[in-house]
Symmetry: D2
Subunit: 286 residues, 4 copies
């Protein structure tokens, strides 16, 4: 993500004059727009807009911006958010035993692809501790059993509340989140499911896919809701499979699609490209 | 499909000596093998084999071949079929109102991709008559209403029985086949379903896909069973979609994937590349 | 293409205030924006913008629009074009012997995908006459030999000048256009080349690809210049190939990618989504 | 790769009786075939065959196998190789400064995907030392300057000779190998080139791709020859790019295709799926 930019995200009821209103506001503050996306959702009558601004072109502070923008926002009944991209976003990752998605995330982070802070990685197993600590990231083990589940999730919620992360990534984390946490962190908890949703919801999707004899398998990156694997989809990737592949082969082959779909979803979220509308996402690709 | 070849398809319980037995048999008849595929399905313990032979390398007739092969087939408990590719296969196509899959089939047929005979195209509507007749193919209208359905399918069955087609293609034919016909023509009736099965079974799959907010839509070519959209899958193709696409857009965008999946499935079937095992297919790609 | 819309295409030097200026202009005329795309090319310092407007939301005629927009265009040094999408675009197609790209174009046109007028199809062979006339489109044979080439192209130029087409499609037309026509119809003549450019320029690209032993082959849709296969690329598609495929197989297999790349390129052009900047295209995908 | 298997690779002039000869030989030794691939290259008249055998089904040792197979090999003028997959292959990796391909290789190795021994990683820079050593793999720095180049490559050749690796991977290693080493290790040195070959040979392919304005960029895994980027291609992958992407963006976006193409190439090589014939590869996919 480029330094020295702001991202302005807006959604509001669609009507004439939004672009003019926002455009004039920005031009008066001398804002240099480097990227702009609009989407008018005719089904819901809602308008979505994302603008990237060069920070040093703006003649006012972000605080002043927010204050001065308020009347326009009120006029058009806007939800809006101005993000200063010079401030690192915080990402907490949760993992169980399978580490490929986590390894890819940490590797991209180390190479500079994700310019974020990682307060910690949380896991219900010890498997990934060594790798996480090699990257210099704190590893917090929180075992989850049927008896300890509610305590474990309270502990996690405390950690979330302490760091107030911009994104929580379930990188093959095999525990269902309680509804309360889903609601509190709505739109901030991203899961990677190892099937082409809505096919093969729940456990062992590759085995389900094998049993159905599909010729392609996939992975789906989505925001979680309290309904299992039913939240808004951000990205999907697929891989061809054939009769030679057993369910075990598919587990191995499918990893690349999981890694790829999750990496895309994370990038879109960190670059504030994703809007949620009902159970759908608007993703403004670059 | 090259002229002047035989295809030998075999399936049997897996054990040592199959390849040697068949190979020796073929070598003794001087058979020149141009393509060979094997698959040992360790789950079911079954072995599948497809061999392409140059017809003019064989020193015996196909009748003599079949007779002489019988002892080996018995020894290994084989199901087998020798296909003389110089004899054109017969394909009957069924269509309702949407003609893109039919148009693609006829266009490829005219260009020589499919070296087959088309005894007729059957439809429950008049929409495609003009195009079918332009290609010089008989068009048989068989309207289907709730009242006439059983009569209509008896009429179709008679047509099938008369021509004994090698393949019946449901090229966006929107009527469910009666169980009796499904059984009689098992493994010969191919459907194109406009979703990535097992997602979005049944009516209006693009609208279902839109409602779920998927980022990819697909098409599935499969053999029919009496269970709707549940038969063995032969090929699947996908297309990316985004928030800008309405269900109507998806109907339009998805057509290419339908055409592509069906064309592949037809090619595989006509080249005898497909074996069915339970509810799965083995497809020997070239 | 939806009826009842205008498309406004603008390019100009990048600076602050463009969006505000255009947005305010549009809002004052009550223009309802259904789709908007911007791109600030930081390398060249040029800004590109495409807006779709609902025709019946505009309170002025397109002539009045053009007149009233002039001062803004001058202020920002804009090139701009307002297209009334209720007026059908005109497309002339040229083909030699291989008809798959033409057949696909006509089939999509007949199905309503391309809401255009086809004044004629021109060919240097008789091969495709029958199909073209079945679609009710005039077929104009213009044979080209070394001796007749200059006369032939003068004849074609006259036809182009007569109809003033919005797009000329070379749908596997195997003659190089003279520089004069390239210049006169710059940005309006689209070719499909059967390789992944810049690999395999010129004749028999599939044979070149076979000789190099590539694992993927492709097709490239581009605007023509007088340099062979060197013009701005609009779209590219690829197909996997393997050792089993001869050059002849690749010719057959590659057809789908050619059809697909060309169909995309045509759609982008007809929807005024393509800008040319030096030897590159900006394509605003939906 | 499953333990307890042999792979038998054969190539010879094509004629009748090869499959029978080999099949009978294997059946007499009770060999259980788990996977078999054949390819008759009609252009060159050469036949290629790969067979996977369960080791514990064979009633003789691999030494006895080799000895007993000799007469058949002589009869058919075969080149052949029997590989005992219980013996780990040795892979030496070379890298310069960009570590993504190396990181992916080590991560897959650690996760068990590659059941190989890594005697060392060689680099002309110190950049990747820390990561390599974290994986417990010896890191050998061999700086290369114009003056030291010949000495450096002699040192490398000594290392190669000492370990006799089955595969040498150039994982973004930015030095051209001397012809002598290319010849000595012919078919064992694999490079990843960051373009869709034969487009954009040599330095800075992404910048070349940007300048040409392509809509897809790619990566090519190939065996090296002394001609730069001209050796037999094993695998190619592509990524879509658009006008929004600068050459720098393409460097970043292209990494995934590089990693993917190289990982596939390595897998095919390690599973003895690749045959080289002139400047082409036959790759027997699973």
């Amino acid at each position: 993500m480029a330094e020295g930019t702001y991202t302005l995200n807006i959604s509001c009821p669609d009507r004439v004059g939004i672009v003019a209103g926002v455009g004039t506001f920005l031009a008066k503050r001398n804002a240099w727009i480097t990227e702009a996306n609009h989407f008018a959702d005719r089904a819901s009558g809602r308008f979505f807009m994302r603008q990237m601004l060069l920070a040093n072109s703006l003649e006012i502070s972000s605080e002043a911006f927010e204050a001065e923008f308020r009347p326009i926002a009120d006029e058009f009944d806007m939800e809006y958010r101005l993000t200063d991209n010079r401030i690192k976003k915080k990402v907490i990752v949760l993992v169980s035993k399978l580490g490929h998605c986590l390894a890819d995330f940490l590797s991209r982070w180390k190479s500079g692809d994700y310019d974020v802070e990682i307060p910690c990685v949380i896991s219900n197993h010890e498997t990934m501790r060594e790798m996480v600590e090699w990257y210099g990231v704190p590893f917090i083990p929180i075992p989850v059993s049927r008896e300890t589940k509610s305590v474990a999730f309270e502990q996690m919620e405390e950690i979330f509340d302490r760091y107030s992360p911009d994104l929580i990534v379930l990188a093959r984390y095999m525990q269902v989140f309680p509804e309360k946490v889903c609601r509190k962190y709505w739109g901030k908890v991203m899961n990677i499911h190892h099937s082409f949703l809505p096919s093969f919801i729940g456990a062992k999707p590759y085995h389900q896919a094998f049993d159905r004899g599909v010729k392609m398998t996939g992975a789906t990156c989505h925001y979680i809701t309290s309904d299992l694997d039913a939240g808004p989809i951000i990205e999907q990737c697929i891989t061809r499979v054939a009769h030679v592949h057993t369910a075990t082969d598919m587990v191995r082959i499918g990893r690349d699609a999981e890694v790829q779909a999750l990496a895309q979803g994370i990038t879109y979220h960190l670059e504030d490209r994703v809007f949620i509308r009902n159970n759908r996402t608007i993703v403004f690709y670059q």
